[in-house]
């Protein structure tokens, strides 16, 4: 049987977002694969240079759709590093709570995302439904469900009220009570085991050579997490573990995400207890109206551990009221481009969406 070229693109229902892979297949086996991004290129890096420092907050959440808060946080942290700005302590705790809530939401969606390609639709329905509870918190806190524009340069936009704190406590209790059900019905399910166990293996050396971060790396037994290695905000003041696995297969990657949900719940609870009270949650970079504020000359790289791995913003300022250059490090750049080309050959066609789902290839952050 000869080699057939198969275009696996955004119009395919099994595709994970607006991304495409050109595959050369023989029967069911992928012989060669070529990633082709670009369907979602919106030119964010160029657009950011043409907008004011503060206006960019409204633009950048759109770089990554499932977890938009990491963009605002990275950008704000980068600018604060250049300007040597002291962010109020309460604002930093609130940022941590928002980032961890976003991580839970993204992991729930990712568990659901794996359910689609393998045919275990319960996971999709449950994940999406429980994620909506987190979006309710975001709606109460920020006024928006998906793109929050909440973390701004110098702090956060609004204070966390006791009513919303109460809502967070209740939602966390609810999600925690759901976790045993997920474990029993989804992670002990035969469909999930037979489709994911031992598939798409990655060794520790391959993962480190490729430059993968996040669960893709931790599933190979390395305890590398930016929150632990290079602590930002107050991650060094809370107690949490970094779950790891040694199998390096698709199942352990999904299972690690599930385990991280309970760690995030732990972090948010500690943050809510340790957070100081007060009204001051933001400071200005410089004087004047928000559109005219300038940032001193300099460059800095700020990175955080997103749900998919290391996510970073490289910010350059030339001392004017607009950024000189902003570069985005998408967390799924290595596994989405190099990983597809190198590690997909030899797998079956139906495993390709599993690579995209379990390695968290996110097209919008590759294209930008």
């Amino acid at each position: 049987m000869g080699e057939v070229k198969l275009f696996f693109g955004p119009n395919h229902p099994g595709m994970h977002g607006n991304f495409s892979v050109h595959m050369y297949v023989e029967g069911d086996i992928v012989k060669r694969a070529r990633p082709l991004p670009g369907f979602l290129h919106r030119g964010f890096e160029k657009l950011m240079e043409r907008r004011f420092w503060y206006s960019n907050i409204a633009l950048i959440p759109r770089i990554c759709v499932p977890e938009p808060d990491i963009n605002e946080a990275c950008y704000a942290m980068g600018v604060e590093k250049i300007a040597k700005l002291d962010v109020p302590e309460r604002a930093q705790w609130i940022r941590m709570i928002v980032l961890e809530l976003a991580r839970i939401a993204n992991h729930l969606m990712a568990v659901g995302g794996v359910g689609g390609p393998i045919g275990l639709y319960t996971a999709s329905y449950w994940g999406t439904a429980d994620r909506d509870r987190i979006l309710d918190i975001f709606e109460a806190l920020t006024g928006a469900r998906v793109y929050h524009m909440y973390i701004v340069i110098g702090g956060v936009r609004k204070n966390l009220t006791p009513k919303i704190e109460d809502m967070i406590w209740k939602t966390l209790d609810y999600i925690e009570s759901r976790l045993p059900d997920y474990e029993n019905l989804i992670f002990k399910n035969r469909i999930l085991h037979s489709r994911l166990k031992g598939r798409l293996l990655l060794t520790r050396e391959q993962a480190l050579e490729m430059g993968v971060t996040g669960v893709g790396l931790r599933a190979t037994g390395v305890e590398y997490d930016v929150r632990k290695v290079d602590p930002y905000l107050f991650y060094d003041k809370v107690d949490f573990e970094v779950p790891t696995a040694t199998d390096g297969d698709a199942f352990s990657r999904v299972y690690l995400k599930f385990k991280e949900i309970s760690q995030s719940i732990k972090i948010i609870r500690q943050a809510l207890e340790k957070m100081p009270q007060g009204d001051k949650v933001n400071v200005a970079v410089s004087k004047g109206s928000a559109l005219r504020r300038i940032v001193p000359k300099g460059m800095a790289y700020a990175h955080i551990e997103s749900a998919r791995g290391e996510y970073g913003f490289f910010v350059v300022s030339d001392g004017k009221n607009k950024p000189y250059r902003v570069a985005v490090r998408g967390a799924s750049y290595p596994q989405g481009l190099y990983g597809i080309e190198k590690y997909l050959p030899g797998t079956r066609i139906e495993d390709v969406p599993l690579w995209l789902a379990t390695m968290d290839v996110c097209a919008p952050e590759i294209d930008r």
Binding site: P37, G38, H41, G43, E45, K46, L47, R50, K81, L208, E209, M210, G211, T213, V222, Y224, V226, V229, D230, P231, G298, M299, A300, Y301, H303, E310, G312, F314, V316, Y324, R325, A327, R329, Y333, P334, L337, Y338, K342, D367
Partner: protein, 174 residues
């Protein structure tokens, strides 16, 4: 600067670098273009083995392009921003795909967005843009508004209500 980063900075002294401390765990190292690969190799051997980002900054007033490599160490959490400046009119540099395979894609991206040529990297096909016919778009002298006005000019549109009503009634074919 942490102690372990201080040791690494000392091992770079032979390359005549310009050291700038941005943060407690972030250091910028500026070197001349011919020493960049050696500096990167030294840093990689010292534990800074993760290439976080490779990017470029266009300094149009100095007529230079600044290439930036951000290296991260999983051991001590330090970041090194290795930077060098090359000529803007003839931007040529060497590939680092032997050190980090993923750099191949970063270089492809920089070739597309900044027009930098990387010697040793043959794969310079466009990655994100299709049928691009202008200068590299992330250069400072490229104006996206002018480009879209030229590429997609405004068309005159006059509303003819009577004709539209006739089409709607089915009296004429629209």
């Amino acid at each position: 600067m942490t102690n372990s980063m201080n040791d690494v900075v000392k091992s770079l002294e032979g390359f005549n670098p310009f050291i700038e401390e941005i943060d407690e765990r972030e250091v910028k190292v500026t070197v001349s273009p011919d020493r960049v690969i050696a500096v990167l190799e030294t840093l990689k051997a010292n534990g800074y083995s993760h290439l976080s980002l490779m990017t470029c900054v266009d300094w149009i007033d100095d007529n230079q392009l600044e290439l930036v490599y951000i290296l991260f160490s999983w051991k001590d959490g330090g970041k090194f921003i290795v930077s060098t400046r090359i000529d803007r009119n003839n931007p040529k540099f060497f590939t680092v795909k032997e050190l980090w395979p993923v750099a191949r894609f970063y270089e492809r991206e920089l070739h597309e967005f900044f027009g930098v040529e990387f010697e040793g990297n043959d794969d310079m096909r466009p990655l994100f843009l299709e049928l691009w016919d202008e200068k590299p778009p992330l250069r400072k002298d490229f104006d996206p508004r002018d480009y879209s006005r030229k590429k997609f000019p405004d068309r005159k549109y006059e509303k003819d209500v009577i004709k539209e009503a006739k089409i709607f009634r089915g009296e004429i074919n629209g």
